[in-house]
């Protein structure tokens, strides 16, 4: 089997183009996109039977397996050869292609896009870490997944551009994706939240509290988690910020809520983070605060009441 791990061209500019699409093709994994309803044959299956399966199922290639192990692939081209050379009644084992190019289920779909460009195949088998066949991926699978995701992103953009500047907030929700160790973009979500509140003329002190909570939560995910999402949900009275990451969880939540407790590395500390003030800061600015953590991930939910009133503007 040929396995090529290096990244190569994808058909859009990776330096200056819109981040949304780039982010998508790195965020979406092959396992999110591939079809898992596998139709397979064994090496004992005849080429004739395979041809019939292909016709019935309207597919152009069939993986040949032993248990969960992929041992070959019979393509339409192999069938044409078999018909042409008169061995259509023979078993797959002698005529399947066994020099296969495969993808792994954990790879981002950017790999798949690149493979379709580089090799002229219509489908690639997908293996998991244990080298078991878990799916097949076609260009169509990728197109569909991208259309759905791009549609979702555009919906958010449209929602954002339609809202009235300076207007009162109605129900709105935004999701920001936070990558592990992505100090480069850290603060993006918080900045967006701040701008949104400012445009709704929320009192500066409340905006500041929302900014502090979202920034600390965002930073926590950058520094400590394997990545996650920050969701900002607005309604007329309150802002709910949910930070949900995918692990590895906080071992001692009570300790993490104490000022000065930190598990950050020296490097993180040298950047001015990881002083053990993150969660305590969040807690102190929140009107409501909730945290749950397990090795599968940590979720922090913070509510900030937007209705001003007593809090007067003594800044500036």
């Amino acid at each position: 089997m040929v396995y090529t791990a290096h990244m190569q061209e994808i058909p859009i500019n990776t330096v200056t183009s819109a981040n949304v699409v780039l982010e998508l093709i790195y965020r979406l994994k092959i396992k999110d996109v591939m079809s898992t309803a596998l139709i397979t044959a064994t090496k004992e299956t005849t080429m004739r039977e395979i041809q019939q399966i292909m016709r019935q199922e309207r597919i152009t290639g069939l993986p040949i397996v032993m248990g969960k192990r992929l041992i070959g692939l019979v393509s339409m081209d192999d069938i044409i050869q078999a018909l042409d050379k008169g061995y259509i009644e023979e078993k797959a084992q002698d005529h399947m292609s066994s020099n296969l190019i495969i993808l792994e289920d954990d790879m981002p779909i950017s790999f798949a896009i690149n493979y379709f460009d580089r090799y002229r195949y219509h489908r690639f088998p997908v293996l998991n870490k244990d080298k078991e066949l878990v799916g097949m991926i076609t260009n169509r699978d990728i197109t569909n997944a991208l259309l759905i995701e791009i549609n979702r992103e555009v919906e958010e953009l449209e929602k954002r551009s339609h809202r009235v500047e300076g207007g009162i907030i109605s129900e709105e929700m935004y999701t920001y994706y936070i990558m592990q160790n992505d100090f480069e973009n850290a603060g993006h979500a918080s900045t967006e939240i701040k701008k949104r509140l400012k445009s709704a003329s929320i009192a500066p002190q409340i905006v500041r509290r929302a900014a502090i909570a979202s920034y600390e939560l965002e930073m926590n995910m950058v520094v400590h988690s394997t990545g996650g999402r920050l969701i900002a949900k607005y309604d007329a009275n309150e802002l709910t910020i949910t930070a949900a990451d995918s692990g590895p969880g906080i071992e001692d939540v009570d300790a993490a809520l104490e000022a000065g407790y930190s598990t950050a590395s020296e490097w993180i500390r040298s950047l001015g983070f990881g002083a053990g003030m993150g969660l305590p800061n969040v807690q102190s600015v929140a009107d409501a605060f909730d945290i749950t953590s397990s090795p599968k991930g940590t979720t922090v939910t913070v509510t900030i009441t937007l209705a001003s009133g007593e809090e007067n503007d003594n800044e500036r």
């Binding site: 850290a186 603060g187 918080s190 500041r208 900014a211 950047l271 001015g272 003030m277 800044e315 500036r316």
Partner: protein
Amino acid sequence: MNVEELTTVKEFEALYIADKDQIIADGYCGDLLSDVMANAPASCVLMTIQAHKNTIAVASLVGISALVICNGRTVAPDMLEAAREEEISLFTTDLNHFEAAAKVLALLGGGDAGTR
């Protein structure tokens, strides 16, 4: 005072001035960004050694008007870029936080630190 007055401190080198008329009402010193986040007053000038773009993000979020990067630390190009984007004035100095703060305090009107 305003940002323009900071340019009168001969030890401060201005890398970027967002708005020379912007009000500076207070000062703060800190290298722990979580502490800056929690405690720096709005419209202040921040003395810090954190010469990277995350400092700009923090400054923007809490409404800090200007940064003075102390101890002769080199400002990363992307920090300067971020300062332009977020319109936060950026200075460098060879002075340490204490010395720089003393200059700022003099401009703010003397020895009374409680200007808030």
